[in-house]
């Protein structure tokens, strides 16, 4: 039977949570397609493949010293080797930094249609239907592929993590991994030192809607201090240099789970939400009633943060 193939993701030999989510997704989707869930793991030894086998019934393992670290060239060649040696109906990749880096390349090397950044895949009449966020999360779209087979990437958090516990088979696939054109130099930590907002019980976070540095300081920082909490920001505020990178919440920054997360002037892009959605109580203040942040907030105020927050300060 054809395989629906999850590409396992690892860093320093540790399987990513996104890979466990892909295993869950593959199990949910494969049956409708008349396929079986499987995974491909690439590393310098079999350890990652053995780990993935706890989450999915069948794992194809490509072992090569060149695969110790993720590279787009290495992974594209390894995926091709597995697809060439097996009957693969579709490839699932995590929409993570590594996934974003490889997904187009993998699809091009296979010649298959690709749908990236999906949040749901359902099978209708044996064919997968891909749902994905567009327009900053304001609109969802459904797509299909015109090719027989497909490559799709799935947004982090779209599926729950599969529970470990199975004992899948691991099959070696031989591949000659050729030229890898990028060369790794080092990892650097860009948020080292300074404050750790992840321990705060109350976080007041400002986004693009805070307009400028002085206003961010005046409104967001002061409310945070008044509440005895920490101040934080979404990416555009850090990009603009209004506050430190160590205070950035989201996929590229910190993940936080305070009792209260107050998001002011933050639209609620998925990359931000990924870092704060597990907060106990979320308050959204935004002028745009259609901002996606209202979909995950506990309480919302549709209004001007420059009026609402000073009024809140008066009540505290």
């Amino acid at each position: 039977m054809a395989k629906l193939l999850v590409i396992a993701e690892q860093r320093n030999g540790v399987l990513s949570e996104a890979s466990m989510e892909l295993c869950k997704a593959a199990k949910a989707i494969a049956a409708g397609m008349g396929a079986e869930p499987a995974a491909a793991a690439f590393y310098k030894d079999d350890s990652v493949a053995n780990e993935v086998a706890k989450y999915i019934p069948e794992v194809f393992s490509v072992v090569d010293a060149k695969l110790e670290r993720y590279t787009a060239d290495g992974y594209a060649q390894a995926v091709k080797a597995v697809v060439d040696s097996q009957d693969v109906a579709g490839v699932l990749i995590a929409h993570t930094y590594d996934g974003i880096d490889m997904v187009a390349k993998v699809a091009m090397s296979l010649g298959w249609g690709v749908v990236s950044n999906c949040n749901k895949i359902e099978v209708s009449g044996g064919k997968p239907v891909f749902t994905r966020s567009t327009y900053n999360g304001k609109i969802q779209e459904e797509k299909s592929v015109s090719t027989d087979k497909f490559v799709a990437s799935i947004e982090k958090g779209a599926y729950d993590k599969e529970e470990a516990g199975g004992a899948g088979s691991v099959t070696a696939v031989s591949a000659s991994i050729g030229d890898i054109r990028t060369s790794f130099k080092e990892y650097v930590e860009t948020m080292a030192g300074s404050v750790d907002i992840s321990q705060a019980k109350v976080i007041v976070s400002g986004g693009r809607g805070t307009k400028e540095k002085d206003k961010y300081n005046d409104i967001i920082v002061n409310l945070a201090k008044k509440l005895g909490g920490e101040y934080a920001a979404s990416r555009p505020v850090v990009d603009a240099g209004w506050t430190d990178a160590a205070r950035q919440v989201g996929q590229s920054g910190k993940s936080v789970t305070p009792d209260l997360y107050l998001a002011a002037g933050i639209s609620g892009a998925i990359q931000h939400v990924a870092g704060m959605k597990s907060s106990k109580c979320i308050v959204a203040i935004n002028k745009d009633p259609e901002a996606p942040i209202f979909n995950i907030a506990t309480y919302g105020i549709v209004g001007d943060l420059f009026e609402v927050i000073p009024a809140m300060m008066g009540e505290l």
Partner: protein
């Protein structure tokens, strides 16, 4: 260095979106702008040109109206551009658009570096960089937050953003294709002389047929809709003062979080 930047016109995301017949947005209600991420790519290209000389060429695919965004890049300092104006490309998928951009780039002869934004704000696909790189036979790297040029100008050292504030530092030989992440720089605002000069800069219009680009999509669009959430926020009504008072009361007495 001969540097190409791919620029896309996108709606201003604060526009009021209306969906027509489940398949398109009502463009009469929309203001358009240059994709934010592309502005960072244009700025990165201009900074390289200022250091190492050469030229910055803009390629874009979109309706005639989108020439405004290309000229915005010209006003920032880019030298000239090619716009693929072709309804068949506009209707095509990521592969068709990447093919159009690639063929426009190919028409330039040898280039050193191609840059895109990490993704378009409207489509959120992030596929263009990798597709163009594959078509060029060049290496690619995505989510770039720092670029340094090697001594011989034949390679770059780049920082690729990873989860949680980590960067991976890599060497990549030229020619290469990079997708540029926001925050890598502070994009400049066009100056008045820049805007005046931009009007006179060369912008070639091409169709897919002119460039020999494929218009056969590998994916199909089915429909679009507004997201439905099962857990909408409890919206607190009233003017700012009333809403603020109610909110503080709820946070103290209902949620008990302050």
């Amino acid at each position: 260095m001969k540097i190409v930047v791919c620029v896309k016109e996108v709606p201003d995301m604060e526009s009021k979106f209306k969906i027509v017949e489940d398949k398109k947005i009502d463009e009469s209600q929309i203001a358009f702008k240059m994709n934010d991420f592309d502005q960072y790519a244009v700025e990165a290209a201009l900074q390289l040109k200022e250091k190492f000389g050469g030229e910055v060429i803009i390629v874009s695919a979109g309706p005639e109206r989108a020439a405004k965004q290309v000229r915005q890049a010209f006003a920032m300092g880019a030298d000239w551009g090619i716009q693929v104006v072709d309804p068949a490309v506009d209707a095509g998928d990521n592969f068709v658009k990447a093919s159009a951009l690639f063929n426009a780039i190919k028409s330039l002869g040898d280039v050193d570096l191609v840059m895109t934004g990490v993704q378009a704000e409207d489509d959120q696909a992030g596929l263009t960089c990798g597709m163009i790189a594959d078509m060029m036979g060049a290496p690619s790297c995505t989510n770039i937050v720092k670029i340094e040029v090697g001594g011989d100008q034949k390679s770059l050292t780049v920082n690729r953003e990873l989860e949680g504030g980590m960067n991976e530092v890599l060497d990549i030989p030229l020619p290469a294709v990079l997708s540029i992440q926001s925050g890598i720089n502070q994009p400049r605002y066009p100056t008045l002389p820049g805007i005046m000069k931009a009007k006179k800069k060369k912008l070639d219009n091409k169709s897919a047929a002119d460039l020999g680009a494929s218009t056969d999509s590998k994916t199909s669009f089915i429909k679009m809709f507004f997201p439905v959430s099962d857990s909408k926020a409890e919206i607190i009504e009233g003017d700012a003062a009333t809403a603020a008072k109610t909110l503080v009361d709820k946070l103290k007495n209902e949620a008990k979080v302050i």
